[in-house]
């Protein structure tokens, strides 16, 4: 069906995200940033900030109870950047594995992605603004970010309300399936951030269960 070269390229594309999560109080943010700056690459340049507007779209129909969700990330710092993302269910795995694994497909797109999704049949489910900092060490990515509720639909700069007085810390790596060695590296890295922040694999299903 597909071009063989293309199929191969898709097969080799990293779509498995290894993930560890934690959080830190606003008051200790400075210390954590300092630490990360020292640990990660490009220590000589100032930390990278990002402000993203994330819109989660869902498509439903009668025969399928569970909607399919795609989220659109739009950078408010570099407004020409649009990204479409699919996140699969996260697998806890057993104790021998140190991280969560979930299917993650990130696709950079042109700026008409909202119109496109709408015409395909997706509808906006919810949206929020994420502000934070971005670090990387090798292929490991660390984000320290805060999620803001948008009090007025479509207003991404004013009328924002933070939900909790803490920052979300995420350590993630995109890899192809079966590269479990990377989880070991991530665990070691997370160890270095203790006791500032405790990065763990967090069971999302349990969170959802307690949240509702």
């Amino acid at each position: 069906m597909m071009d063989p070269q293309l199929a191969q390229a898709l097969k080799a594309a990293p779509t498995n995200e290894y993930l560890l999560q934690g959080s830190i109080l606003d008051s200790s943010l400075e210390v954590l940033l300092c630490r990360l700056k020292g640990l990660c690459d490009h220590a000589d340049s100032p930390e990278e900030k990002f402000v993203d507007h994330e819109m989660v779209y869902a498509i439903k129909n009668a025969s399928i109870p569970q909607p399919l969700q795609y989220s659109v990330r739009h950078s408010l710092v570099q407004p020409e950047n649009w990204q479409l993302r699919y996140l699969g269910h996260s697998e806890m795995g057993d104790k021998s594995r140190h991280t969560l694994i979930r299917n993650c497909v990130d696709v950079a797109t042109s700026d008409n992605v909202l119109q496109f999704l709408h015409e395909v049949g997706f509808r906006l489910d919810h949206e929020f603004v994420v502000k934070g900092f971005y670090f990387h060490k090798g292929r490991m990515k660390v984000t320290v970010s805060k999620i803001f509720k948008m009090m007025q639909q479509g207003h991404t700069t004013d009328n924002l309300e933070s939900i909790v007085p803490s920052y979300l810390v995420e350590l993630s790596v995109l890899a192809t399936a079966g590269q479990d060695a990377i989880a070991e590296d991530m665990k070691n890295f997370a160890e270095q951030l203790k006791p500032l922040v405790q990065l763990e694999k967090i069971d999302h299903r349990r969170l959802q269960a307690t949240g509702t």
């Binding site: 300092c34 000589d44 340049s45 100032p46």
Partner: protein, 338 residues
């Protein structure tokens, strides 16, 4: 043990006193206009300072002689020390008295002492990153100067013109008005360029000065082409042309003057423009030159792709559109048709 602690304490306090005294002296020496009376006071102050220094030195020598075995000697030493400290104290209060009566213009300096004790939060300052940059920069300068040195040694510059040595000629030559076109204040250049940009609706000109006073123009001509232009004052030194879909940035985001366009058309146009600026070299009226160059000749390249050759009426010749513009009529011509 105790004795050494005391000595340590002394040393600290003394050093602090000394530094403050030195500052005071610096203050007193600073005022330039002084009456006789003040001068006398000043001399007195200096003498007092010398005296103080003497007594301080004595304290130190006494201290360094210390560390004796018998109790008597120790007592003696302590007495000596007390004496010398007392005399030092007297000297100091004398000096302070006189220094207060001296006029001082720099009271603030004494405040700086308090700053010395402040420990800056090193993490907050930009110092480390600046240092890294400075280090990289100096390394680069070093390397470049090496290259330059090598290159210059191979080609020695001989600027002196032997014909100028003749007696009558030399004076005439020297009196000639020196060319000024290259030596024009930046603000003037910028106003001229700004007014130029206003005249040309679909041309954008950005000016930057990456290396000192020479300025680099980045000109985007409609949606046809982009060009960089190096100006020294109003003299056009260099032109490089690229496509609208190309840019003049090197990998690290700085302006890249030299790389050629990947298209043959713009390579040809660049060459022809370099030839064209010879025509527009007219140092007597530098401002008019650059105006006519950008406003007319350069601007006529807007139609690079759309205008047919004015001679043969065709668009393509040897795979290229009409790449030449006549200096007077601005008519588009193929390179082979002119």
């Amino acid at each position: 043990m105790k004795k050494s602690e005391i000595t340590q304490n002394f040393k600290f306090k003394l050093e602090f006193l000394l530094s403050s005294i030195n500052l005071r002296i610096a203050e007193t020496q600073l005022p330039l206009k002084m009456g006789d009376q003040e001068a006398e006071k000043l001399i007195h102050a200096i003498k007092l300072t010398q005296k103080l220094r003497g007594s301080v030195t004595k304290v130190f020598t006494d201290l360094s002689n210390g560390q004796t075995s018998t109790k008597e000697e120790e007592k003696e030493m302590l007495e000596d020390l007390q004496k010398s400290l007392l005399s030092m104290n007297d000297n100091l209060s004398d000096l302070e008295k006189i220094s207060q009566s001296l006029p001082s213009t720099v009271h603030q300096t004494s405040n700086n002492i308090s700053l010395v004790c402040l420990d800056p939060a090193t993490d907050r300052t930009q110092l480390p990153s600046q240092l890294i940059h400075a280090h990289k920069w100096t390394n680069k300068v070093n390397r470049l100067s090496d290259y330059a040195c090598q290159a210059l040694q191979q080609a020695t510059l001989r600027r002196t013109n032997k014909s100028q040595v003749g007696p009558g000629l030399s004076t005439k030559r020297q009196r000639r008005m020196p060319p000024v076109a290259h030596n024009i204040p930046a603000s003037t250049v910028e106003t001229v360029l700004n007014s130029l940009e206003k005249h040309l609706p679909d041309t954008s000109i950005t000016v930057s000065r990456p290396n000192g006073s020479s300025c680099v123009l980045q000109i985007t001509l409609s949606k046809t082409l982009k060009a960089v232009c190096v100006l020294r004052g109003f003299l056009i030194e260099y032109v490089n042309v690229k496509g609208y879909n190309e840019d003049f940035l090197s990998n690290d985001g700085k302006i890249d003057l030299w790389s050629k366009s990947r298209y043959k058309v713009f390579e040809k146009v660049s060459d022809l423009m370099m030839a064209g600026i010879q025509h527009y070299y007219y140092p007597q009226m530098p401002e008019i030159t650059i105006r006519t160059f950008i406003q007319q000749w350069f601007n006529s390249y807007k139609t690079l792709f759309s205008a047919p050759c004015s001679k043969c009426g065709k668009h393509l010749q040897g795979g290229l559109p009409p790449v030449w513009r006549d200096f007077r009529t601005l008519a588009p011509l193929h390179d082979g048709c002119r």
